[in-house]
């Protein structure tokens, strides 16, 4: 189980990403969803419709913030304006924790808008942990780092990705958002054993898990979030919760988005796995 300092002591069950094609359904039908994850950067604005719709969602649901622009691995440090905007939004959403990606993405204030891979070096781990400590101190909320899907490795690498993730999160004392689909994607792209990755993760840091689908091409996999979760990823999920206990689980479906019911029922499959865990392995507790 995640240590409460990584989750603010909140246990959340199954959630899905809040996405435009579902707004009408959610606002009109108020479906019973555990929680929604929002992309912080879409709501880091001064006013207008983004905040109006967010307020309507917040009236009904618990929301967790997930970011794509913190870039904690940036050698040039963090963008303090970004942190200030993020903190404003945190006040509004009262998110129990916030997550972003273990990556970098900008140089001299110029943005890639991508989650770029870090070299797995001690130097990069040190710099990233330093940035994360600054962010966590400033934001005054538990921070969880998500492992990204990657398509490249570096000549500089001195350790595996899972060692790097553990190294950084321990040095910064932050939580982990474990994306088991990303582990699978990277394992195919780089040829490693995804189970070895999952087995190495410090379980008490895992505040949240992401599940998602991807696109398989002939020679690589791209993390497109536009398909259902595949069986090997469900198996990694099962292994992850076996180690970490029942963990807040979120399905990401961001492209070719089907109906709300379809996304929600895909996400709910994670509950079958969590139930299996309790029944077969006696791990965790039955969710209400």
């Amino acid at each position: 189980m995640a240590h409460p300092r990584f989750t603010g002591g909140r246990f959340l069950g199954t959630g899905i990403g809040l996405r435009v094609p579902h707004y009408d359904h959610i606002l009109a039908e108020k479906p019973a969803v555990g929680w929604f994850e929002i992309i912080s950067e879409n709501y880091m604005v001064r006013g207008g419709r983004p905040l109006a719709v967010l307020d309507a969602i917040l009236d009904q649901y618990e929301v967790v913030q997930h970011g794509v622009g913190l870039y904690p691995g940036g050698s040039g440090g963090l963008d303090m304006d970004h942190l200030r905007r993020l903190k404003e939004l945190i006040k509004r959403t009262k998110t129990p924790w916030i997550s972003d990606h273990l990556c970098w993405g900008s140089v001299d204030g110029r943005m890639s808008h991508d989650l770029l891979p870090l070299p797995y070096t001690f130097e990069a781990a040190r710099k990233t942990a330093e940035n994360l400590r600054i962010a966590q101190d400033f934001l005054e909320i538990p921070l969880a780092m998500e492992n990204v899907s990657s398509y490249a490795e570096f000549n500089d690498d001195e350790m595996t990705e899972w060692q790097f993730l553990a190294e950084v999160t321990e040095a910064a004392d932050v939580g982990i958002l474990l994306d088991v689909n990303n582990i699978y994607v990277s394992s195919v792209n780089h040829g490693f054993d995804p189970l070895e990755y999952v087995d190495f993760i410090p379980p008490d840091r895992v505040a949240q898990i992401h599940i998602a689908g991807h696109s398989r091409y002939q020679r690589f996999i791209i993390d497109t979030h536009d398909h259902p979760v595949i069986d090997p990823v469900w198996r990694l999920y099962a292994r992850a919760i076996e180690r970490c206990g029942p963990t807040a689980t979120l399905l990401e479906w961001d492209s070719s988005i089907p109906s709300f019911e379809e996304v929600w029922s895909e996400a709910k499959k994670s509950e079958d796995w969590r139930r299996w865990l309790v029944e077969q392995k006696g791990v965790g507790h039955v969710e209400a």
Binding site: V20, E41, R46, G48, K127, N189, H225
Partner: protein, 297 residues
């Protein structure tokens, strides 16, 4: 310079190189037979480890095309009228030149077009009148984006009009353009522009209570008053010191009624709430996301 900084600078430099080869063919940019610059391969070999299936350059290429696909799509989406007026070929030429010259400087892709109008107004591939026409269109289209996310101050009650400083709502943007570019919104292509002489026009772009963006022409005298409202002013002060040429009382009454009707005025320093109209669609809401762009093999 640290090793990490060096690597990130090199990687970023590669991302900013122009899109080439088959990656370019799957966009709407004018195709080119040119391959990657030697710089691209040098960076790939120096920093990236070859994978089980892909070479170092192929791995870098995946990031390179993701970068370009994402920003090309995002920028093009924000300038539909410019696209119709410039025609596809010219439009993509402008987009590519702009993105090569000025990479994104904001955390959100919504702001990607913030300097596009300036770029167009200096674009060597356009003649002088097109620079001003297309630049003006880009200004209006970017103003639509900007007013989408501006703050909203409280609408003035009768008592506020006498007692408080009144401001122009942040989302009301005043543009001064050198051709009647607002006409383009009613045109299918740019041919009707032939023979239209330059003419200074003033446009307001604002967010309606529903959340939808709108534009309308302003009278010159009206703009002078609205500009003074920009930073907040008491109405008695505003009307005591009228700018030259002095507008008539009738004009002022008419303008003021319009501004109130359009909800352009707000009370300085008092936050207002945005209504949520669910009937107008959700265009422009989800610009940022964590997934990769899908591609062909």
């Amino acid at each position: 310079m640290s090793r990490l900084e060096q690597l990130q600078r090199e990687f970023f430099k590669a991302l900013l190189l122009p899109l080439r080869g088959s990656s370019r063919k799957s966009t709407e940019l004018t195709p080119s037979d040119e391959g990657h610059a030697p710089e691209f391969f040098r960076i790939a070999d120096e920093i990236i480890k070859p994978g089980p299936e892909l070479s170092a350059a192929e791995r870098l290429e995946l990031y390179h095309r993701q970068y370009w696909f994402r920003i090309l799509d995002s920028l093009a989406e924000d300038f539909p009228v410019l696209r119709r007026m410039a025609g596809d070929e010219r439009f993509w030429e402008l987009i590519e030149a702009y993105l090569l010259e000025r990479p994104s400087q904001s955390f959100t892709l919504r702001h990607l077009g913030e300097a596009f109008a300036d770029h167009i107004e200096a674009a060597p591939c356009l003649d002088d009148s097109r620079r001003r026409w297309f630049g003006g269109i880009a200004r209006i289209e970017y103003a639509f984006m900007k007013c989408f996310e501006c703050a909203q101050s409280a609408l003035p009650e009768a008592v506020d009009l006498g007692d408080s400083e009144i401001e122009l709502q942040e989302h009301v943007q005043l543009l001064r353009l050198s051709y009647p570019v607002d006409l383009c919104w009613g045109w299918q292509d740019f041919t009707p522009a032939e023979g239209i002489e330059p003419e200074i026009i003033h446009i307001a772009v604002w967010r309606e209570p529903s959340g939808r963006s709108r534009q309308e022409r302003l009278e010159a005298g009206e703009v002078r008053l609205l500009s003074r409202l920009r930073d907040g002013i008491r109405l008695d002060v505003l009307f005591d010191e009228l700018p030259e040429p002095t507008p008539s009382e009738d004009d002022i009454t008419r303008w003021f009624a319009k501004w109130q009707g359009y909800r352009w005025l707000g009370v300085c320093g008092k936050e207002g709430a945005q209504e949520l109209d669910r009937g107008i669609g959700w265009e422009g809401m989800d610009r940022m996301s964590s997934q990769a762009v899908s591609m062909t093999d």
